[in-house]
């Protein structure tokens, strides 16, 4: 599992996904809908954390 936390001003949304492709898609859905922006694929991956199934 992978987790990404948004660092936009005033936002601490987290996105979790089973793999990299899903994470990229879900992060850009969040950044587009919430901030009218996008995030680069490699930047998303560089800022993602590995977590276990319990979110740790």
């Amino acid at each position: 599992m992978k987790r990404w936390t948004c660092l936009e001003v005033g936002c601490d949304a987290t996105v979790t996904a089973a793999d990299e492709d899903e994470l990229i898609e879900k992060v850009n859905a969040h950044v587009g809908a919430a901030h009218g922006s996008y995030e680069l694929e490699d930047v998303i991956l560089a800022n993602a954390e590995e977590i276990d199934g319990n979110g740790h």
Binding site: L7, E8, A46
Partner: protein, 320 residues
């Protein structure tokens, strides 16, 4: 002339399984898969859009694209110290990735050159310069911040210092020079200052429903830049993890050109109808991301300055 003893045979094989399992080799491998060629684009629709756009719309776009073209050429031409330093530090995976990095910057230079020729009919340097608003036109009325030219001052300055360190052969000096160079180039210019520019072009062309090839080129450039930025921050993270005192070098470089982030710059605010505050606020996200990637703490004073609504530059956007 220096005499060089040939390496032992087993030391001549640099690409080890450990390097091939690492994050930097993965970027190299991805770069070779994601190749794109600006000569394969169709520029016809952009040309017809350009002819029907208003003068203000055309000037808003070309003010940005001429700066980007020159900037891409500058970074192509100034990347060599990073490659030399990676070699001297014995980091062959960095050398491999940087071989794709330099080629990509050259490709970006080519794309904007072709786009200007095919769409705008602009080929000569003096024609492009006529659309270039000078940095001196961006002024902080409070006098607290100065806006410099990090691409044309900072990169050559820190590149020359890094080459001096490489020639000197002192490992620590090369590492420090590498952190400074990666900070000015990958962290600050590519990773924060230029990000709003790409977004302005994509948002504007999307809203006006124009210039699909320019948008496609910007998307290709951005995908490449994502690897460049995260290479620089990963290299800094590795070096800072080994020497935590290097974190201070990052903050010193950012401080030197912090003025360029606390307001929108002249060429970024010449497009009609933009919500500039959106792009200003997003610089904080990019800066925080860069710090997270490097494993360092962002400077809250700088963030406060970027977000301060009372800090906005006065700009005369007349070109030339």
């Amino acid at each position: 002339m220096t005499t060089v003893e040939p390496k032992a045979v087993e030391q001549r094989f640099l690409l080890t399984p450990e390097l091939m399992a690492g994050a930097i080799y993965r970027k190299y491998e991805k770069a070779t898969r994601k190749f794109w060629d600006p000569k394969e684009f169709d520029y016809e629709r952009d040309r017809s859009d350009w002819e029907r756009m208003t003068e203000a719309q055309r000037e808003g776009i070309i003010t940005i694209t001429v700066r980007i073209e020159a900037g891409e050429q500058a970074v192509t031409d100034e990347l060599l110290p990073m490659l030399a330093a990676a070699h001297e530090l014995g980091r062959f995976d960095w050398v491999m990735f940087l071989s794709t990095f330099m080629q990509e910057e050259a490709r970006h230079s080519e794309f904007f050159n072709i786009w200007h020729r095919e769409v705008c009919g602009v080929t000569r340097p003096e024609q492009k310069a006529a659309h270039w608003p000078l940095r001196e036109h961006t002024v902080d009325p409070t006098g607290r911040f100065r806006t410099g030219e990090p691409v044309y001052e900072g990169i050559p300055k820190y590149g020359a210092a890094l080459m001096d360190a490489v020639r000197g052969g002192d490992h620590r000096a090369i590492e420090e020079g590498f952190v400074r160079f990666a900070t000015i180039y990958n962290v600050w210019i590519e990773g924060v200052l230029t990000m709003p520019t790409y977004e302005i072009v994509l948002d504007t062309c999307g809203a006006w429903d124009v210039l699909p090839t320019l948008q496609a080129g910007f998307r290709g450039v951005l995908a490449d830049e994502g690897r460049h930025i995260t290479f620089g921050t990963e290299a800094c993270r590795i070096l800072i993890a080994e020497h935590p005192e290097y974190e201070a070098l990052v903050h010193e470089i950012v401080d030197e050109y912090c003025g360029n982030a606390v307001g929108m710059l002249e060429y970024q605010r010449n497009v009609p109808g933009l919500d500039l505050q959106k792009y200003q606020t997003q610089k904080v996200r990019h800066y925080r991301n860069r710090c997270r990637e490097m494993g360092i703490e962002p400077d809250q004073t700088l963030i406060d300055a970027i977000l301060d609504p009372n800090l906005d530059f006065v700009v005369d956007v007349q070109a030339g």
